[in-house]
């Protein structure tokens, strides 16, 4: 994300600050991968072709970086040393993710209402997972996100 900001806003001046913030927000509030932000930014810059270029530009390298070394990794992944390496990296990834929760939390939990939304969401997700109500359990997170988004609109106005 800082990378995108540097390129789109600072270097090329394709987007202004507000447009960039909105792009990131759109990436976050829509389902699926967040870096789809690049498509939103691409659309603002150059319409539909821009959106397409944005998506390809972000996902194609990611795809190649999985598929090309993939065969090699599959061939060697059962070696003890490779196993150990993967165990270490996934432990590190877990730590980084825990850290990311804190970093993102600092940005998102800015006042009493946002803290309340987070706590309510947490409790409802845990309860839904435990009780497994018929329809809701399959769509627990979308439902919570929908309610939270409406709460945001109610609190802040459209």
């Amino acid at each position: 994300m800082p990378f995108l900001h540097q390129g789109l806003v600072v270097e090329h001046g394709w987007l202004n600050e507000q447009q960039f913030l909105d792009s990131v927000a759109v990436g976050l509030i829509t389902p699926g991968p967040v870096v789809i932000t690049a498509s939103f930014a691409g659309f603002l810059i150059a319409g539909l072709p821009g959106a397409f270029v944005g998506a390809v530009g972000v996902f194609l390298p990611a795809y190649l970086l999985v598929v090309i070394p993939g065969r090699w990794i599959l061939r060697h992944k059962d070696r003890p040393a490779v196993r150990a390496f993967i165990v270490g990296v996934s432990a590190a990834a877990t730590g980084a993710i825990m850290g990311a929760v804190v970093v993102l939390g600092r940005g998102a939990l800015v006042d009493a209402p946002t803290v309340a939304i987070a706590l309510l969401a947490l409790v409802s997700l845990i309860l839904i997972r435990r009780w497994k109500p018929p329809v809701l359990s399959a769509l627990a997170e979308p439902a919570v996100v929908l309610v939270a988004g409406l709460a945001g609109l109610a609190l802040r106005g459209a």
Binding site: P31, H76, R79, V87, G99, A100, L104, A151
Partner: protein, 257 residues
């Protein structure tokens, strides 16, 4: 780690996998960490489509390779089951819905000349996303850390580092990997393997190789070849690393012929 022992893996068909990721791309709110958490819950824990080990591999690949975490994890899980074709189709299924939605939103945004409601919705959705990813992080600890003190320490260090710097420190993941390799007493073998593989390509590894690692003085076939060429050939890691060049040549030509 009860999931580990009870796991009987039911490999999904390519169609079922694509259908799942199409759904995840459509309803998977909350960002990359949340998406990784959904995949773990649905595919590893609930459906038993993916083994915990394959999931950990995917997480490591997605973390080390630059690029979006959730998308690369999805690509890996599909790649493991269905190769390049699976990875390609799943990528499209996963990214497609988000792409369409974002284009629609962007169109509205441009037509309306900006949109303040995006900020308001984000104000409410962001804290809900924090709740979702807290649960994802918690779920992940069971799969990747268990009760191993070293792994817990690594996670703690990385968590601290991430909070302090506010970003991910790529080299720290590589170091963490090698720390576990070293702890299990596999470091020398790993360096030797890398040195064999990259001999002559990278000066530093070549130096390590020459300086610290003993090469066997003779070829492992001991006798079949004359043993005149004591330097082992660079070839596929461990298996042939003791073979001298002439032996490798001989064995490869015999399998071909």
């Amino acid at each position: 780690m009860s999931a580990e022992s009870t796991a009987t893996i039911k490999p999904p068909g390519i169609r079922a996998l694509c259908a799942y990721f199409l759904r995840l791309g459509t309803f998977g709110f909350g960002g990359p960490v949340a998406l990784a958490g959904y995949m773990q819950r649905d595919l590893v824990e609930d459906r038993g489509w993916i083994s915990p080990q394959d999931y950990r591999d995917g997480l490591a690949v997605a973390q080390v390779a630059p690029g979006p975490l959730a998308a690369q994890l999805a690509m890996w899980l599909a790649f493991v089951r269905h190769g390049v074709r699976g990875a390609t189709l799943v990528s499209l299924a996963f990214v497609g819905p988000a792409f369409l939605m974002v284009v629609a939103l962007a169109w509205v945004y441009v037509a309306a000349g900006g949109a303040t409601w995006v900020g308001s919705v984000f104000y409410g959705v962001a804290p809900a996303a924090i709740a979702i990813i807290s649960l994802s992080a918690w779920r992940l600890t069971a799969l990747t850390l268990g009760a191993d003190p070293l792994l817990i320490a690594i996670a703690a260090v990385l968590a601290g580092l991430t909070v302090l710097t506010g970003s991910e420190v790529a080299i720290a993941f590589i170091i963490a990997g090698f720390v576990v390799v070293a702890e299990r007493g596999l470091l020398a073998g790993a360096i030797r393997g890398l040195a064999q593989r990259f001999r002559g390509r990278f000066l530093a590894v070549g130096f390590l190789d020459r300086r610290f690692l003993r090469r066997p003085s003779t070829c492992h076939c001991s006798g079949r070849c004359s043993g005149t060429s004591p330097s082992p050939a660079r070839s596929s890691l461990d298996q042939a690393w003791r073979s001298c060049r002439s032996c490798i040549r001989a064995s490869s030509s015999s399998t071909v012929g």
